[in-house]
Structures are given as structure tokens and as C-alpha cells.
């Protein structure tokens, strides 16, 4: 096995007596996209900040690009790139001035900078805006400019904190296009997202919930962990269905998703008629029960429902 590009062992960070991240252990291979997935407060940002060398950890080990980031956070900074969740560029500088600033900080030669900037800006569809002040760009364009600045020095590892939050679908697609071409060129990417549909695009996932590591592996492996099937019950009021089905036999978890209730059951063939009977007895309207392919979100919901709650009880 090749040397992992990112290697994390038992990483812990506490804040105000509480663990913000608890005992994380995972690795990312060169040229791999690892998705850090979880709701707000899961510890995604903290994890990325520690790996970027901008936040110290309390204990554990973290190596990035063969450097120990916990003991020497500065050593790693020239070969990685970190893009914080909030736009971190200078709004009173133009697109070109921002690019030049970051290129100089990473000591990129002027000719190389110009060529790379031209390629990256073209890939983002931002070539016409080079002289515009960064503050006058749209939200999606700011993100893309952030990515261009982050990539100007050709980093080995790219750490992106929710780069697609609040970004329009077209820009999102462009962003993922750039990520795939980078990975194709051997760059290792760690990307955090609160969107489960994006998780499917990653090679490997790290599922986080309240600072705890629920899962680390491929999306296929994740789905294989589900001890049953996912049923979708279409309804205009899935929350009421959920209440009515609480405690039903063979029901492992239930979660409202848009206009449907997704439930995980152990034996679908046997459970579908049972659930139907139960809902009809409760006089609740629904538009049929169908078996659907499990998504990352389904598995995440199932896993979270198995987690001890804040008081440490198991459901």
C-alpha cells in the first residue's frame, strides 16, 4: 500500500470542556476525494482547520503530505491549500490582484502564475471578470475565485470547507468538474459538505455527527451497512406518518425527506403490508409504499438513530 497523503490517528480537540471532535482516525490516499459529511456542528470545519495547520489539536496524530501538522503546522502550508467556509479573499482587491497576492505568498513564478490563472479562470468561466473587484462578484463566483486562489500554487492536498454551500447549481457543477480534473492529476482532496447528494460523488466518506466518527469508507461500503431495505412512503405530511409508525415491528429508523417518509425495515416483503395496515388504521393518507435504493442520507439517518443521544441513552 502506498503512503497515505493524509493520516489521522485518534485526533481530539476540546473546546470549553467539551470534545468538538472525538477520536477521529482515517486516511486519505493520493488522488482520492474524501467527503466529510454531517450536519452543522458535526466537527467538519474543526477537522479541516487542524489539518490545514490553522488550529491546534489537543491530542492524537495528524500527518499531511508527510508532515506532522500538529507539531509543525507551518511546514505543511506550502504544499497544501485550504479554503475556509466563508469567503476569505480581499473584497477591495480585484480578481487578478487576489490571484497575484496568493501566488506571491506561495512563491509562484510570474509566468507560471499567468498561465495557471488563465487555465483556472477559463475553467470557471471567470475570464471576463479579471479586473472586477472581488466584492462585486456573485456568491458563486466568489467561491470559484477562492478555488482559483487556492489552486494557483498547484497544491498536493486541497482542503475545502463547504465550498458548495449557497452556490448555484451551474457553479456547483463547474466546481466539481475542476475537482475531478485535479484528482485526475493526482491531487488529494478533502471536502466537507452538508449536502448528502454530493457525498455520492466522493471516493470515500467520513461521516461525522456531534464530533464523533460514525463511518469511514466508500459510499458502497456505507450502503452495505444497512441491515435492511429503505421504503419510501409518499405523503404530504410525513412527520405525522412517522409519529404513527413509531414502535412498529421491524422498523429500524424513519426520517422525513421532502414529500415522503423514508423508513428502514429489516424484511421489506413482510413489513410493507404491516405498515400499510397500521397507517390505514390510523386514517392517515399516503400515496403508496415503494422500495427505493438506499442513499447516503438514508444510511446516515439510520446511523444517527442508533447513536446514543446527548444523555447517553440508546434508543
Amino acid at each position: 500500500m502506498t503512503q497515505a497523503m493524509v493520516q489521522v490517528d485518534g485526533l481530539i480537540r476540546r473546546y470549553a470542556g467539551r470534545a468538538v471532535i472525538e477520536n477521529l482516525s482515517f486516511a486519505v490516499q493520493p488522488g482520492e476525494i474524501l467527503g466529510l459529511v454531517g450536519p452543522d456542528g458535526a466537527g467538519k470545519t474543526t477537522t479541516l482547520r487542524i489539518l490545514a495547520g490553522v488550529l491546534p489539536a489537543d491530542s492524537g496524530g495528524a500527518r499531511v503530505a508527510a508532515q506532522d501538522v500538529l507539531h509543525d503546522p507551518e511546514a505543511v502550508k506550502s504544499v497544501i491549500s485550504y479554503m475556509p467556509q466563508h469567503f476569505g479573499l480581499y473584497e477591495d482587491l480585484t480578481v487578478d490582484e487576489n490571484i497575484r497576492f496568493y501566488a506571491e505568498l506561495f512563491e509562484v513564478a510570474a509566468a507560471a502564475r499567468e498561465q495557471r490563472a488563465r487555465e483556472l479562470l477559463a475553467a470557471c468561466g471567470m475570464t471576463p471578470f479579471r479586473r472586477r473587484l472581488a466584492g462585486q462578484l456573485s456568491g458563486g463566483m466568489k467561491r470559484k475565485l477562492g478555488l482559483v486562489c487556492a489552486l494557483i500554487h498547484s497544491p498536493q492536498v486541497l482542503l475545502l470547507d463547504e465550498p458548495t454551500t449557497g452556490v448555484d447549481p451551474v457553479s456547483r457543477r463547474e466546481l466539481w468538474g475542476i475537482l475531478y480534473s485535479l484528482v485526475f492529476g493526482g491531487v488529494t482532496v478533502l471536502i466537507s459538505t452538508a449536502y448528502f447528494d454530493e457525498a455520492e460523488r466522493c471516493h470515500r466518506l467520513l461521516l461525522l455527527h456531534r464530533g464523533r466518527q460514525l463511518f469511514w469508507g466508500t459510499p458502497a461500503e456505507l450502503k452495505g451497512m444497512l441491515p435492511g431495505a429503505v421504503l419510501s412512503i409518499a405523503s404530504t405530511d410525513p412527520e405525522r406518518l412517522r409519529a404513527a409508525l413509531a414502535g412498529a415491528d421491524g422498523l429500524l429508523s424513519a426520517m422525513a425527506m421532502g414529500d415522503a417518509l423514508h423508513v428502514v425495515v429489516n424484511e421489506p416483503a413482510r413489513r410493507i403490508p404491516e405498515l400499510r395496515t397500521r397507517l390505514e388504521a390510523a386514517h392517515l393518507a399516503f400515496d403508496g409504499i415503494t422500495t427505493v435504493a438506499a442513499t447516503v442520507e438514508d444510511v446516515f439517518a439510520y446511523m444517527v438513530s442508533r447513536e446514543p443521544d446527548q444523555r447517553g441513552r440508546r434508543p
Binding site: 495547520g53 507551518e74 480581499y90 497575484r100 505568498l105
Partner: protein, 377 residues
């Protein structure tokens, strides 16, 4: 330290100042306004003091004394009244600062070689101008009195040579015309440097925190030292530009003499700026907010510079304990140096004590400033 990264940060900072109207105002317009206001407004000397006169006698002698007041550039006799209450009313209504009452037996007593007196009523609301008015009035009266004496001696057959009273022939050095603007304006440069330097440098780190650009900046290989140097050098350059601007204004507009060496002005200004910028920078690192930082920075730079540096209030007239405090007020050395350079023609060699004191401050502040900023959230 990597010069390329440092230069990149400096260039960025410079662009930001240029595009931020508030910073630009502080950097260019504020020094000009300040030097103009201090040059015109903060005049400590009194001339054309308005005078009301109540001449009870109306003799040739009393008129001669009044003529002397009239001739002095310090006084303007604006009204002659014929009763005492008119004078008090005029002082109450702020129509005059000095009321002169000449008694009805003025010339009689003078010619009898008796001691006589005129009464001067002075508005003491502003003790500084009251003291000046009193001093000038005394000088006018003394001059007149001497002449009267000499005349008396002459009449009584004594030689003028033999009796000429001992007179001190004053010669004031460095500020020959005793103009307070010459005393104020060189020190005002220190005030401009303190205000401009503290405001701009206190914003620099806090701005990165407030606008959320700090996280990205500390994720780059730029070291704390490079960030500090890159951020402060533009302000040092702006500060030197402002100092030059103020000097040109002082000499060209206010006719303040500049007799010393430009090198000495440069050296002392650089050192003073290092201290001011270092303090502003440390405050910026500590507070992380632009508003808070600028207020603290003004408190620790502008306040001591305007009150305890000898800029307007002479240090040797301060009470002992306050005078002792001024020795730790770094601006006192700069203000002393500025006055010596402008008025006394001092060069670097004459200013070794001041330069040494400022060098100590520059090194100490510089040392702490380099350690103030940690590249961590």
C-alpha cells in the same frame, strides 16, 4: 524572512489603503487638516488685546500713557468711557480683556515725584492670556515710567548717563519673535504622526479578523514576521510622506524656521513611527476589532503625545510627579528633537540623548510586536 512574500503583503496593504476612503482620509487629509488647525488655531500668544479706558484725569500725561498702549501691537484701545461701571460691564460682556483706569491725580502725583499707579482690570477667564496681558501692560507702563524718571532727573540737573537705570537687554534665541506658532508647529508633526500611525496600524490586523480573511492568510506559508513587516512598512512610508508634507507646510505656509538637519528629522521620525506603529499593531492583534483597536490606540498614543510630550504645555512647568512621568512618554523625546531641529538647528549629533531614548523604545516595542501575533485561530 522571505522578501517576496513580505513585499506581496505590503503591496496588498497599500492597495487597500488606496481604495478605502476612510484610510485614505486618515493618511492624507487628516495630517493637513491637523497642521492647519494647529497652525492657525492653537495660538498661545495674545496680540490686539481689546482695551477699554477710563481716563479720570484727561491730562497730557495720561494721554501720553494711553498713546503708548495704542502704539503697542499687543493692545487695541477700542473705547474710552467716562465711568467705572462701563468698564466692568465691558469685561462681563467680553467686549474687552483689559480695562485701564487712570486716576484723577495721575499727573499731579507724577510731577511731585510721588509714586502713582494706574489700575488694570484683567479678564482672568483664560489664565494664559490674562498673564500675557498683565505682562504686556506692565511692560508698557514700565517703559513710560522710565522715561518719566529720566525726564525728572534731567530737570533736576542730573546727567542722564549717571542715572540711567540698569536695563536688561533681552535677546531671545531660536524663536526670536517669540511666536507661539513656531513653538507649536514643530511639535504638531509628532501629533500628526501619532494620530495617523496609530489609527492606520490599529486597523490592519483587526480588519483581517473582521472581514474573515485572516483564516485564509494564516493558512499560507507567510510567517508572522513577514505579515507584520509587510503590513507596517506601507504605513511607515505613508508616515514619512506625511512628515515631509507637514514640514513643507510648516516652512512654506506658516514660515516656521527650519534650521536643523533633514537627516536628523528623518532618523527621529522613523524611530517615532516604529514605536507608534508597533503599539498600534499590538493593539490590533489583541482586540481583533477595528473600532476597539483604534480607540485604544488613540488613548495610548495621541493622549500622551498631546498632553505630556511638551508639545504645547512646557514640561518644566509641570508639577514634579507629572514631570517624572514625561520621562517614560516616548513622544517627549520626539517633540524635543523636532523643536531642536526646526528652531535650534540641531543635527543628529546634538540629539544623541533623544535618539538613544527613542532607539530603546523602538527596539523594545519592536521586540514585543514581533511576538504579538500567533498564526493560529
Amino acid at each position: 524572512m522571505n522578501w517576496r512574500r513580505t513585499a506581496a503583503i505590503g503591496r496588498k496593504e497599500f492597495i487597500q489603503v488606496r481604495r478605502d476612503s476612510r484610510s485614505l482620509l486618515i493618511a492624507v487629509l487628516l495630517p493637513l487638516i491637523q497642521i492647519l488647525m494647529l497652525g492657525y488655531g492653537a495660538r498661545l500668544d495674545a496680540d490686539h488685546i481689546p482695551v477699554y479706558v477710563f481716563d479720570q484725569e484727561g491730562s497730557q500725561d495720561s494721554q501720553a500713557l494711553l498713546k503708548r498702549f495704542q502704539a503697542s501691537r499687543y493692545f487695541d484701545v477700542i473705547q474710552v468711557v467716562d465711568n467705572y461701571p462701563a468698564i466692568t460691564r465691558a469685561i462681563d460682556a467680553d467686549r474687552c480683556k483689559l480695562g485701564l483706569v487712570i486716576p484723577w491725580d495721575f499727573s499731579e502725583r507724577l510731577n511731585d515725584a510721588h509714586r502713582t499707579a494706574v489700575q488694570a482690570l484683567i479678564d482672568g477667564t483664560d489664565d494664559n492670556s490674562a498673564q500675557l496681558a498683565e505682562g504686556y501692560a506692565q511692560a508698557v507702563v514700565e517703559g513710560y515710567s522710565n522715561d518719566v524718571q529720566l525726564k525728572w532727573f534731567a530737570i533736576h540737573g542730573m546727567s542722564q548717563q549717571a542715572v540711567a537705570p540698569l536695563a536688561v537687554d533681552y535677546r531671545t534665541w531660536f524663536n526670536e519673535e517669540l511666536e507661539s506658532k513656531n513653538f507649536i508647529i514643530p511639535g504638531a508633526i509628532a501629533l500628526v504622526m501619532a494620530l495617523m500611525g496609530a489609527l492606520l496600524s490599529s486597523l490592519t490586523i483587526a480588519r483581517e479578523w473582521e472581514r474573515g480573511t485572516m483564516e485564509q492568510l494564516i493558512a499560507t506559508p507567510a510567517t508572522a514576521m513577514e505579515i507584520m513587516t509587510g503590513k507596517l512598512v506601507p504605513y511607515l512610508v505613508i508616515g514619512l510622506f506625511d512628515a515631509a508634507l507637514c514640514t513643507v507646510f510648516a516652512v512654506g505656509w506658516f514660515n516656521t524656521p527650519f534650521r536643523g538637519s533633514v537627516t536628523a528629522l528623518f532618523v527621529t521620525t522613523v524611530m517615532f513611527l516604529i514605536v507608534i506603529l508597533g503599539i498600534g499593531y499590538m493593539i490590533s492583534v489583541a482586540t481583533k476589532s477595528q473600532l476597539g483597536a483604534s480607540q485604544y490606540a488613540l488613548l495610548v498614543t495621541l493622549l500622551p503625545t498631546s498632553l505630556l510630550s511638551g508639545f504645547a504645555f512646557p514640561i518644566d512647568q509641570m508639577p514634579g510627579p507629572i514631570r517624572a512621568i514625561t520621562y517614560v512618554v516616548y513622544s517627549r523625546y520626539y517633540v524635543t528633537a523636532l523643536k531642536a531641529i526646526f528652531l535650534a538647528g540641531a543635527g543628529t549629533r546634538d540629539l544623541i540623548p533623544e535618539i538613544s531614548a527613542m532607539a530603546v523604545y523602538a527596539v523594545v516595542i519592536g521586540f514585543f510586536a514581533t511576538r504579538a501575533f500567533r498564526k493560529s485561530l
